[in-house]
Amino acid sequence: MMRDQYKNYFYVTIFASLTVTLLYCMAVYRWWPWIDTENCWIDDCMVRKEMLARGIGDRPKIVFGGGSGTFCGVRAEDVQKAFGIPTVNMALNAGLEIDYILSRLKGVLRKGDVVILPLEYEHFVYADKSSSYKISFVASCDREYFLGLPWRSRAKYVFSLIGFNRVFEALARKRPPRNARGTENCRAAFNQNGDLTSNVGKAAKFEPVGPLPLQQGGFTETYGLASIKDFSRWCRAKGIRCYVTYANSVRLKDYGDERYHTYFESLQNYFIKNDMAFIGTPYDFFFPLELFYDTGYHLNKDGVTLRTEQLIVMMRKMNIVPGPQRRFH
């Protein structure tokens, strides 16, 4: 009798604890879009930008992709005027990480388009370790992408969401399904070309930046670089011309150091080796601090004008306009 009780206890305990854990994980997986909607305004803004790009129809276009450094660094409107070709700034938030940004870009690109990627250095050195910010965003705001991930990545994502602290904090925020106010703010902040319009002068609070993060242990192909390489190949296969370039950043003394020269050179060699077209060198896109708005990646209106002019000159020199595919360096 007693033996049976111990036996039942043993099996039931194991079964029940595993089942309860599994059910909890499944609940988080299923209901995360209702648990944490904190950053879904970003998705709304991306959807709005995608609508702008799709609105161009079948005409060839120039598309800028990247993080907020591009959103607050390039004026697509000026590029459109300079080349007379529809241009959209699709960039928004670097925190969503390069693999996600590029996968989202694929949805708006068509044969004959030109895509220019002025990327932050975080994208180049990005290892395949998704931030909790991105995971939460994807799990709640872009289910299509989330459900399309391989099951191992999905499991990894779910595991990073199930922490009790995380769930309770998200629940305590009591956000509505979509943060409507954030969405409106975002829509009002950009023009018909997807350019930021509110970065005038200097923000009240400026976040200083240190030197760019360098790869530990010398230059190797990171997950971020591999993602860019794959995207570049995908573009080529689809008849889209892809150019990698560098984000606008504050000019600092450190960039005169040998280690930075070496790193930038390695980066350039990597692009050449992998047949990836690129525009300029990192040194072309360092600007004085006074041209920045609220962080070391975000230019103010004057800075954007200057940076875009510079980019247009380089694009002219390289004859970058939508059309049949050629090889560039």
């Binding site: 039931v12 305990t13 604890s17």
Partner: protein, 492 residues
């Protein structure tokens, strides 16, 4: 492989237990022992395969030494001297091995500092659990010498030393505790009582480690990062968090070891008995890491003379024993100083006892607990200044400032007392942290400890719900963490 890693929990342990019991059910006892030894070596080698030859060689060497001691017999003086010689050789080789891996860099660094020399430090990686398996085997050799209890079967001996539940951090076991269990056929069948009690105890240990120790550990780490500037409340939160972390971490490990061993029908000795309830330092050491205390008493304190040669000799033996205890924990002056503090406390306690003055129990507990709590600072700190920094904070030298997050509620105190946004002040959870620490402390003081709970264990809904809840919370915490946190004592 760590007890709190998914690999161990969901693959290694279940398969190790299942195959062991299956082989035993078929009557293949030899094969089942070989299975456990292989599984244990896999468990050990998983972290770093290059130390597998070390532990295997150590097991083989000590087995041969034990056999040689046994074969010498005690017929005459020559045989006796030979036995002694072989024992001495065995102990020396073990200590040299331990010394090489654990103390070489410490020794070289000190030689360099004292004699202003420039020997390059070897940066030898410490093999996991070396202190534990070395002490286990030294004890075995001494017992083999004293009691002629050397094991004649290599497989039994290998299983005794390498048995994975206790390989990395004990409990430190004597061979005579394990040997009857190795032979008993009744212990080899599927015993659901042991399986149920084992999982019950294991779940308590797992919860202690991944929930309680982790929670306290985060606060302790935060505090030690700001050791030089801790205010009164922050310093107490830091020190108490560490005392609790260490207890939950190590006793959690031991509960898991006992629970896992029970699933194999092995009973390991208890290692903790609510140590923070101790009302004097001797009482503390009879409750904390009990198997190490027993080892130190039997193999160091008593051979040094113990209490047989008068008070002076006893105090000397106590001090030496605790210095060894400190050095055993780690190659560093802070560990030695921690051992020294406990040695001095022991001496003071014996001097006090001679006065025949009975101290109020609560006062005795306050003194003991605070001494233990303060001494852990030297155990934990990276350097002297960190330990002293936290101590200074605890006695109010850095100022008795309140966390900034309280300024709204305690605004009437502004002007009389300062508010600061130190690491604790910056969080909105200050009260929460203090209440949780107080709760954990009360739990360790007044709650049943895990061994008492396991003794009273009866299968039923209450125990079932309790276990499932512990495992569920622990599993979620494990899955939500990228890298399982290491057990503190595994590093020793």
């Amino acid at each position: 492989m760590l007890f709190n890693s998914p690999l161990f929990l969901f693959l290694f342990l279940p398969s190790a237990v299942a195959v062991y019991l299956l082989l035993n059910c078929r009557g293949w006892f030899l094969l089942s022992k070989m299975w456990v030894v292989s599984a244990s070596l896999l468990f050990y080698g998983y972290a770093n395969v290059k130390y597998l030859p070390l532990i295997s060689g150590s097991i083989l060497f000590n087995y041969l030494v034990g056999i040689s001691i046994g074969r010498c017999g005690t017929r005459n003086d020559i045989a006796g001297s030979r036995r002694k010689g072989i024992l001495a050789l065995g102990i020396v080789v073990n200590l040299v091995l331990l010394g090489y891996f654990k103390y070489t860099d410490f020794f070289l660094t000190n030689i360099n500092n004292i004699l202003n020399l420039h020997f390059s430090v070897l940066r030898i990686a410490l093999p996991l659990g070396i202190s534990f398996f070395t002490f286990t085997q030294v004890a075995y050799l001494i017992d083999a010498y004293k009691e002629s209890t050397a094991e004649s079967g290599f497989l039994n001996y290998a299983l005794f030393v390498s048995f994975f539940p206790r390989l990395l951090a004990g409990p430190i076991m004597r061979y005579k505790e394990m040997s009857p269990q190795l032979g008993a056929v009744a212990d080899k069948t599927v015993n659901y009582r042991n399986l149920a009690t084992g999982i019950f105890l294991f779940s308590i240990g797992l919860f202690k480690k991944v929930v309680l120790a982790r929670t306290c550990g985060d606060w302790a780490n935060n505090g030690f990062e700001h050791a030089q500037v801790l205010t009164f409340i922050e310093a107490w939160v830091t020190s108490l968090s560490y005392s609790l972390e260490l207890y939950f971490d190590f006793s959690g490990y031991t509960d898991m070891a006992l629970g896992a061993a029970l699933m194999f029908n092995f009973k390991l000795p208890v290692n903790f008995n609510s140590p923070y309830r101790a009302i004097n330092i001797q009482d503390f050491w009879s409750r904390w890491h009990m198997t190490l205390s027993r080892f130190l008493r039997d193999y160091i304190y008593i051979p040094l003379g113990g209490n047989r040669y008068g008070d002076y000799k006893r105090y000397q033996s106590l001090l030496i024993t605790f210095l060894v205890c400190g050095l055993w924990h780690g190659a560093g002056w802070l560990f030695i100083f921690w051992g020294f503090l406990h040695g001095v406390a022991m001496v003071v306690y014996h001097l006090w006892r001679k006065l025949n003055v009975r101290m109020n129990t609560f006062l005795a507990w306050i003194l003991t607990f605070n001494f233990v709590n303060a001494s852990w600072l030297f155990f934990r700190a990276k350097d002297w200044s960190d330990a002293v920094g936290v101590l200074k904070g605890m006695v109010g030298i850095n100022g008795i400032k309140l966390p900034l997050s309280w300024s709204a509620d305690l605004g009437f105190l502004s002007g009389r007392i300062a508010f600061t946004d130190g690491w604790l002040g910056a969080t909105q959870r200050t009260w929460e942290i203090i209440f949780i620490i107080a709760g954990f402390l009360l739990l360790t003081l007044f709650g049943r400890n895990s061994n008492q709970t396991a003794e009273h264990f009866r299968p039923g809904w209450v125990a079932g719900l309790f276990t499932v809840s512990l495992l569920f919370v622990a599993f979620v915490c494990i899955f939500a963490t990228d890298i399982p946190s290491k057990f503190i004592y595994v590093n020793f």
